[in-house]
Symmetry: C2
Subunit: 241 residues, 2 copies
């Protein structure tokens, strides 16, 4: 493997990403010993100090642990996140044996642009409630979400959410007994400073960007949201047929 020059990504970062990928796809299993620093330096054709910096970065994030005189060992795992018609963060995280938590960052008012208006079946310029929240599993931030609801249909939704800390409960408060996922769009990006801070993620890490709209049992749009997931902490499962 050879490294790319002047890509705007430091060499040690490229090495760290390479090793992390090896951990993610199972080439380096959890608990296993990584190759020695000299060997890694040779395979990536960089100086041993550069490898050490890469390993230090991974160690700081808790993915590996160095043992002097012995070697460097892997410790990691990703949260499985099924994308079903019935997608509830708390249920998914809870099913994985982790403790789900939601935390309100900010609630405010907004106005529908063309895209949101189309998703929610509203007119452009219609008043909206915007809720920004971060969701955690066992105190590890998993994603940050921006959620939009019609301010007419859900007046004062911001204050309600601040009390109940759950989208399901919020909708229940307005008489919505059940809802399901109508559409989901996924792509990836690089975490910007805001996301990075909220996700407790170093800048430059990949995030999975998910745009989704939930509808009620009559297929009437309820909420639309954009979530940014720390890619290194989740793995989406799409179940077809």
């Amino acid at each position: 493997m050879s490294m790319q020059e002047s890509s705007g990504v430091a060499l040690w970062r490229q090495v760290a990403d390479g090793i992390e990928r090896g951990i993610a796809d199972g080439r380096f299993a959890a608990g296993e010993k990584l190759p020695g620093e000299m060997e890694i330096a040779e395979t990536y054709r960089v100086n041993r100090h550069t490898v050490r910096r890469a390993l230090a970065a991974l160690a700081e994030r808790g993915l590996v642990r160095a043992e002097r005189g012995s070697g460097t060992y892997v410790e990691a795992q990703r949260l499985a996140y099924p994308l079903r018609s019935r997608t509830r963060f708390s249920e998914i995280v809870g099913a994985g044996g982790h403790e789900p938590r939601g935390q309100l960052i900010e609630a405010g008012e907004d106005i529908a642009n063309r895209e949101i208006a189309r998703e929610l079946g509203l007119k452009i310029g219609a008043p909206l409630i915007r809720i920004e929240a971060v969701r955690l599993a066992d105190r590890t931030p998993i994603c940050v979400s921006t959620t939009w609801l019609s301010a007419e249909r859900f007046p004062d939704a911001g204050h309600v959410f601040a009390n109940v800390h759950s989208m399901t409960k919020l909708l229940g408060h307005y008489g919505v007994k059940d809802y399901h996922r109508a559409s989901t769009r996924i792509t990836a990006a690089i975490a910007d400073a805001t996301d990075a801070a909220r996700l407790d993620l170093p800048l430059g890490r990949p995030v999975l960007v998910v745009d989704a709209t939930d509808v009620d049992m009559l297929d009437q749009p309820l909420v639309t949201k954009r979530s940014r997931f720390a890619a290194e902490r989740v793995e989406f499962l799409v179940e077809n047929g």
Copy 2:
């Protein structure tokens, strides 16, 4: 917005990513003029030269175009890629008005590890055909795929694929009339040197990693594959209910 220090990502790269994100999520529409270099420098709190380097990187990738004395303008778009039960690369790309193409990189033999054996319903160590291919839309590489098939059920599949250049046709050659997607797992990573070269992508860009298994009409597994998509060129659409 403030930049993060010593993340292993150069400042100009962070600025470039920020602008690219603005293009991706529509803050900067195609054809529109970006803010002036001085203004960008102020919002990101970096030197104008750093902004210029960021813009140069985006220009090289064809996302923006600078016009001396006038401004810098956006030009970009992402390929919509629906993840349905019936997922066929050529149909998706063709439907978007682009010309699909597949290109064989390498075909060889392999042996089933635990994961592949489970996906394909084979025993560990069972003989496999491994096919590496890159898929393009209008000569732009979209993804690289590694596909595994049972060597017993599909003998000589590598040579067949080299002739037909299509997974659908390959399966048809063995009497498989129709098939559909059984499972899809998505996560994101950073492009390594191999991916970067094959996708004509600078190192360090995010890729969407998709693990998928296709089954026949009797739900018997046919092929399992791992694809890596250039995240900046596609947007997955998950359609539920």
